[in-house]
């Protein structure tokens, strides 16, 4: 536990920087959205503003947390650490620490902006509420703070998946470019393919962008299928890369 806390402390600077950037970006977009969008409910401002930031979320979290792991891997620190703590244990602790940081950063920045957005927005005058058509629409309208709490935590967990994928790529490809941009490029490619195949409900983007599609397309299980598919495909990619690396090592 102590080791985990110590590992988490290493990420304070990138985590703080990322939290600040995300908060600032969402707040700015909230203001922009507030000026030029007709809304039915106060939370809609925040949902709209998050759309822009969500597009770059895989890139942002990987840029903040993956290079650190890449450099300790490249400099051979894992080899020395494994003598003291065991490689497996070290990696698990490190990944857990990264995951905690990611969840915290994403949760804090998104939830803080939700609170700001709800407080700065005046009461909507429109009585008709289109949010009710969505899966969690009722909660979004009636309990925005409570819903925000759960949703931001969930978003943090999804962001953790990106960072873990990036870290695994760093571990096996030994290439900074691939490990940082891999999850982002994957998301873009997957988004493109699912959109063209008329299956956007199963995209990973749909799972963490709130109310992304029209209400008729969205169901509760869509939020899980996207993550599940993502985990399966990324695990497949990692296994292939790992096997390739092992073959190269055997040949050498």
């Amino acid at each position: 536990m102590r080791y985990l806390i110590r590992s988490t402390k290493k990420f304070i600077i990138p985590a703080l920087a990322l939290a600040l950037i995300l908060t600032a970006a969402i707040t700015v977009f909230c203001f922009i959205t507030l000026r030029n969008t007709a809304v039915c409910n106060r939370i809609e401002i925040w949902i709209e503003a998050c759309d822009y930031v969500d597009f770059f979320l895989p890139l942002a979290v990987c840029l903040a947390f993956t290079p650190f792991f890449y450099f300790i891997n490249r400099k051979g620190f894992i080899r020395y650490a494994s003598v003291r703590a065991g490689k497996k244990r070290y990696l698990i602790t490190h990944f857990l620490a990264t995951a905690i940081c990611t969840v915290l950063v994403v949760f804090v920045s998104y939830y803080a902006t939700l609170c700001i957005s709800l407080n700065m927005t005046p009461e909507a005058l429109v009585t008709e509420n289109r949010l009710f058509d969505y899966v969690f629409g009722e909660y979004e309208v009636n309990y925005p703070y409570l819903f925000g709490l759960a949703w931001c935590l969930y978003k943090g967990v999804v962001a953790t998946l990106f960072v873990v994928f990036g870290n695994l790529l760093a571990l096996y490809t030994d290439n900074l470019f691939v490990s940082v941009l891999g999850p982002f490029v994957y998301c873009m490619a997957e988004n493109l393919i699912t959109s063209l195949l008329n299956l956007p409900m199963y995209s990973i983007m749909t799972t963490y962008v709130l109310n992304r599609l029209s209400p008729s397309c969205m169901h509760v299980h869509n939020y899980l299928i996207g993550c599940f598919t993502y985990i399966l495909i990324t695990l497949g990619i990692i296994l292939i890369i790992r096997r390739k690396k092992e073959n190269v090592n055997v040949r050498n």
Partner: protein, 515 residues
């Protein structure tokens, strides 16, 4: 070496007997056809057509001969020969050229035999006598009736059919040869079985119709199976599918055998070639297009070639448009990242001079990107042809929608290919400049993406995205002046960036190697 190699591989000893037997069978078949031809009164080119389009002969005699021929050639292949040639390119070149020449001789013989047989007994002519014989219908010459509908001259039809046959059988032979080079003898056996099952399934069951005709190999060398009932636009589609298949197989064969060839291996040769990943990318790319067509998604029918529009902007269209270049640059950047860690040090030392190495590397990168451009354009053309299934109508629709004549629409299509190449070069140069300045691949890649997206703020003067057919058509509608401005802008940007790239000497990725 090359000439003697070709001469030796032209007709190996055992193959000559097989070829003579095949030609004897063909001559007998021509004789039986001649009796019928004299009876019906068809002219000489029609008789040639009837002989060369005999699909029973092509399937049951020629195809089996080709497979036996390939097997005999493969059996007499020695690994040591690769060492003699020093370069795999030369070795494969010799094998492929000799095979092409031998097949050319074989196909020419297939024309000459009926020509000599029918020369004195049938009247010459360029039209179709079969269609001017009143109400009588000869079921034996059904192919001739069908060909008369799409090709006005029987001589031209003979040339087309023979050319199609030649290209089709060359494709099968070269593919089997390369499959052998990649997967060995077992792979060749499996490949042969697959070819036989595939061709006979298509031939016997009649499944080779509509969009599925591209899946069955019998349609690749029997002209009236592949084209009759459709239009001639399928011809380039077949050619490009074959070219892509041969290209991917060739690259894989070179990559697979380069360690065993004994040649002095160039480091940059295989630097950017990841045949499996590249192949997977194109399969996904083509697969999407085909799936869309099967789903009947009208909005995406011309997805690959049409690009995206500023007036009717769609993010998915844009992503589809920039996906291939982002894919290519991803691999280029990935290799640059490897270079930063001096993974190329030994290759660099071998080259001696950094300038020489840089030149070789740049050429390799450009070759990689240019190949991708060619493949994407080919894929675009195939999908456009396959998806619409009637390109004439699509061109007419576009012409009416944008108020341009058909010539201009076709010119815009050709220009879009040219502009796409220029755009890709532009992105590559931008990526390289930013990499040289920052020494960071992530920054350079993100900057290139940013450059693409910033361009959308100023669509009127923005040179990006002009490889999109939509935009060329939109510009074409505005008049020639907008078009000229756009060309000048793009050329100017390329010249400025290219010269900038040339003058940046800063290299952060090499340590300890000087000029």
């Amino acid at each position: 070496m090359l000439t003697s190699g070709i001469r030796n591989n032209l007709f190996p000893k055992n193959n000559r007997i097989a070829a003579v037997i095949l030609l004897c069978v063909y001559a007998y078949m021509c004789g039986t056809h001649l009796v019928e031809a004299i009876g019906t009164g068809i002219n000489l080119p029609e008789y040639l057509l009837s002989c060369i389009t005999d699909h029973y002969y092509l399937m049951y005699a020629l195809l089996f001969y080709l497979i036996i021929d390939s097997a005999i050639r493969i059996r007499s292949t020695f690994e040591i020969a690769k060492l003699r040639y020093r370069s795999l390119g030369r070795y494969y070149g010799t094998l492929i050229i000799s095979r092409l020449i031998s097949l050319f001789i074989l196909v020419t013989a297939h024309l000459l035999i009926p020509l000599f047989a029918g020369f004195t007994r049938l009247a010459p002519g360029t039209g179709y006598n079969i269609t001017t014989m009143g109400d009588r219908f000869y079921s034996n010459y059904e192919v001739l009736y069908a060909l008369a509908d799409i090709i006005p001259s029987s001589v031209l039809a003979t040339v087309l059919v023979t050319g199609f046959l030649y290209i089709g059988i060359s494709f099968i032979c070269i593919s089997t040869l390369l499959v052998f080079e990649i997967f060995g003898r077992k792979g060749f056996a499996v490949c042969t079985a697959v070819i036989l099952i595939n061709t006979f399934t298509g031939f016997v069951t009649g499944l080779d119709e509509g969009i599925f005709k591209y899946l069955f190999l019998n349609d690749y060398f029997i002209f009236h199976h592949g084209l009759v009932g459709n239009n001639l636009w399928s011809l380039p589609a077949y050619a490009m599918i074959m070219a892509i298949a041969v290209y991917v197989l060739y690259k894989s064969a070179v990559k697979h055998n380069s360690n065993r060839s004994g040649e002095r291996r160039k480091y940059t040769r295989n630097l950017y070639s990841h045949p499996v990943i590249t192949g997977a990318f194109y399969v996904v790319y083509c697969g999407l297009a085909f799936t869309l067509s099967l789903n009947g998604s009208e909005a995406f029918t011309w997805q690959l070639l049409k690009g995206f529009s500023y007036t009717q902007f769609n993010v998915i269209e844009l992503l589809f448009y920039i996906a291939p270049i982002m894919f290519s640059l991803f691999f280029v950047n990935m290799e640059w990242e490897n270079e930063i860690k001096n993974r190329n040090l030994f290759a660099l030392i071998r080259y001696g001079k950094r300038e020489k190495w840089e030149k070789e590397k740049a050429l390799s990168e450009l070759r990689f990107i240019a190949t991708n451009v060619l493949i994407v354009v080919a894929v675009s053309f195939i999908s456009a042809t396959v998806l619409t299934n009637n390109l004439d109508n699509t061109i007419r629709d576009l012409s009416a929608f944008y108020d341009l004549n058909i010539g201009k629409v076709i010119a815009c299509g050709v220009l879009s290919i040219l502009f796409r190449g220029m755009e890709w070069f532009l992105f590559y140069v931008i990526d390289k400049i930013v990499f040289k300045l920052s020494g960071n691949t992530i920054v350079s890649y993100l900057m290139t993406i940013a450059f693409i997206f910033i361009g959308f703020v100023l669509p009127a003067v923005n040179p990006i995205g002009k490889g999109s057919l939509y935009q060329l058509l939109e510009i074409g509608g505005k008049g020639i002046s907008s078009f000229v401005i756009m060309v000048i802008l793009e050329m100017l940007l390329i010249i400025v960036l290219f010269s900038t790239n040339k003058h940046i000497k800063k290299e952060r990725c090499f340590h300890g190697i000087s000029n």
